[in-house]
Amino acid sequence: MSKITLKVNGAAHTVDVEPLTPLLYVLRNDLGLQGPRFGCGLGQCGACTVIVNGVATRSCITPTSTVKSEITTLEGLAKDGRLHPLQQAWIDEQVPQCGFCQNGQIMTAKALLDRNPSPTDAQIREGMARTLCRCMTYYRIQAAIKRAAKVVA
């Protein structure tokens, strides 16, 4: 075990874990940030996505000791009690069915819009291609991203 300091959603936390522990378990079990979810542990589905240094990062395959920059989780998107435009768009479009994947969808879309505030339909499809949903809410997710893009652009 070793002490590792993580900066998450604006606050610093020191945890005592095996350095190779995937970031996902530290966020969920030690820091109580359960927005990121376990879906595969293989980096294939996106459920565990957090944003590190502007990049949508799969925390289930990211060793905790390798994370040097600030981490943003789903819980950290709202600012001053106001939902991020993506979260609001998700409510306006009534996107989720079960909702279990939506952390990954929203965080991946956040990184996408931060990079490209006015994505084309093709860029949305491509940018979201590796983020899975088994309730197949893709059609509404894409609509919500377009709706949010109008707000952030």
Binding site: T21, F38, G41, C45, Q94, V95, M136
Partner: protein, 789 residues
Amino acid sequence: MTAFTNIPKYIEDLLEKQTATPSRRDFLKTSGLLVVSVSASAIARPLAAAPQSAGPYPDPDFRQLDSWIVIHEDNTATFYVGKTDCGQGTGTAFRQMMSDELDIAYDKTTCIMGSTDITVDQGGSGGSDAIQTDGWPMRRVAAEARRVLLEMASTRFGVPVDQLAVSAGVITVKSDPSKRVTYGQLIGGKRFNVALTGTNVDATTGVAKVKPVQEFKIVGQSPQRYDIPAKVDGSLKWAADVKLPGMVHARNVKPPVAGAKLIGIDESSVKSMPGFIKVVSKGNYVAVVCEREEQAINASRQLKVNWEKPATASFPSSEDLFKYMRSATPTSSSNPNVVGNPDQAFAGAATVIDAEYDVPFQGHTAFGPAHATADPSNNQMTIYSNDMKSYGMRTGVATFLGMPRDKVRVVWMEGPQGYGRTAADDAGCEAAYLAKEIGRPVRVQWTRNEETAWDTKGPAFTFKLRGGLDASGNLVAFDYNAQSADYNHLGYNEPDTVLIAQLMGSRRARPAAGSAATPSEMYAIPNRRMATQVVSLPLVWETPLRTGNLRDPNGPQSTFASESFVDELAAAAKADPLAFRLKLLTASTSDDTGFKRARSIAVVKAVAEAYGWDNRPSPKPRGTGNILTGRGLAYSFRNQTVVAQIADVEVNRRTGHVWVKRLVCAHDCGLIINPEALRRTIEGGMLHSLSRALHEEVQFDTEKVTSVDWISYPSLTHTDTPEKIDIVLVNGDPNPNRPDLPHYGAGETVCKPLIAAVANAIFDATGVRLRRIPFRDGRVLAALKAAAV
């Protein structure tokens, strides 16, 4: 205090506290339950108990009004229903129906669902019956509560009930509206003490009659789903998120090949690992328990276990599956359903067509693998679970552990994608067993590979179809034969079929027979024969090819075959596929009590109109570019819900890639509770079947499943998504304004015709008939090349 003990103790305590302290907010703060929000419109169900609340946990009595509805002093209401939600927002719909019957504003209500000690047993979810079946007792008990409140007001004001008006939880005297009283003032925080009747929970009723449909104000509107905000801001605590004091983590170690026998465990391989607590093993069931989650993962990977492979092959490989199924002796056969004289009709037919269709095993592959947390404190057992049939899990766990039922409860919490997988949940029994062994709360989580390999599967099917046309192109004879690999189909949380029980060697003497489906359509075909058989694979128990209910069980398979074949017959008759179907639907005027024929005709016409269908036979003249386009229609029903769909496809003749560019769906489920929530349910259901059409196939060699993750078991992605989905909500009832218009189920019917609609569109585009799913690029390309497209 009144001596009722048969309403949920939770509600009893709630009402006592409310009486003692005026503020509901104070109660929720001090109740020992963590509650996200105290606002009436939020979800106010207990999310995670601190120490386990003292049992026992008797069954809440559905014949007590107080078990269903609590009116609070602030004139809000909480509805307690025995359902769970798989993500379609049924809780919002329940609130709409019950608010309307009770005459209270929707935003002054909350709904609590599916926890066995708090809510009456309505079976959890399954079969798209939430609105269709369970909505009725909900409506009736809410109507009864309204009746009782009106009588109380009548006594208070000394005027007959018919001289009272009620709106949004406020009762006024019609002749003197200054005389008013709220529901909260009449009964807030107190019991109704009203007994209900009914031989079973579905029949629960009071004296009051439900409202005519025309009086509904909230039903038919689309309030936003109350569960969604917490799902997008990260605040919802799911079953996967439960944390309890002293909780430890477990991971299973599955046999490396199906049917393997445990020879020995080398515990020293993990004993010195950090956080290691115990290896738990019985029969062929093995799990490792550690203090921390990642420690359990590491230990389960490192544990050295000796397994003995079975002497013979457990199943044919997936490449040989259909050949095996066709030559296997059925374990059961249905009595053929015969209309007219098919043999004679075939003998006299001008054209006879034969075709064989195949559907592989397909998985649930839930987005989040199985999980549950069990707390064994106080010699009782609480399981925190996303099991869609939480009540069944409670009984299953009690039997499995040999505990009295009233010592076991299941707290239902949201989870990933039910769709049948959590009806045959495995993790609940595992967590409870391990918690009992360890004596501490245990959280079990399956791995991705474990879930994809070992979850319950939708059965593989083979079909033999024959159709006969007369000289005018009329379908005069139809022979349908379906065979499914569905032997030992799993039940719901049964203690003798759940996987841990199988692995421990505890199993029922007689496996379930399983089933294969016949088509669901209203075609008037004068001569037809429909027969089904079930076959078994060599390995019956402890197999990863265990079958269970997968969203619309057997429907997508049988409708893929039957509705594709109807298209083949239309093509052989050189008829437009829509006109061909309408002719079959209108060839008879006999109808059922739900007017399914009339509604089928209405739905098929509606989808054609919404699409802009022009009359021509398939296939269309073949295009010349790399992208060939086509359209395909299919129709079906499930119970009383009727659906027709049209798919527009693009087929890339160089790569074999299929993109469904547009989907149109006409949908009739009777009275609609929440149109916007329904639309999203329809979209998701259609795309679920699209995933099965294009991608999904369980692959295996003769000893194990080899499609074990999202690479080897691909699923629909953002790039596959249609660019346009049009949904028409149809009310095809011949008397659409009747006051008793029923509300039928949604959520599964749309899964039925979709695969056939895509197959028919591919045929329209290319002239090539694909009779086996999934339509992956390689398979489509091979078929195009074989046909020189």
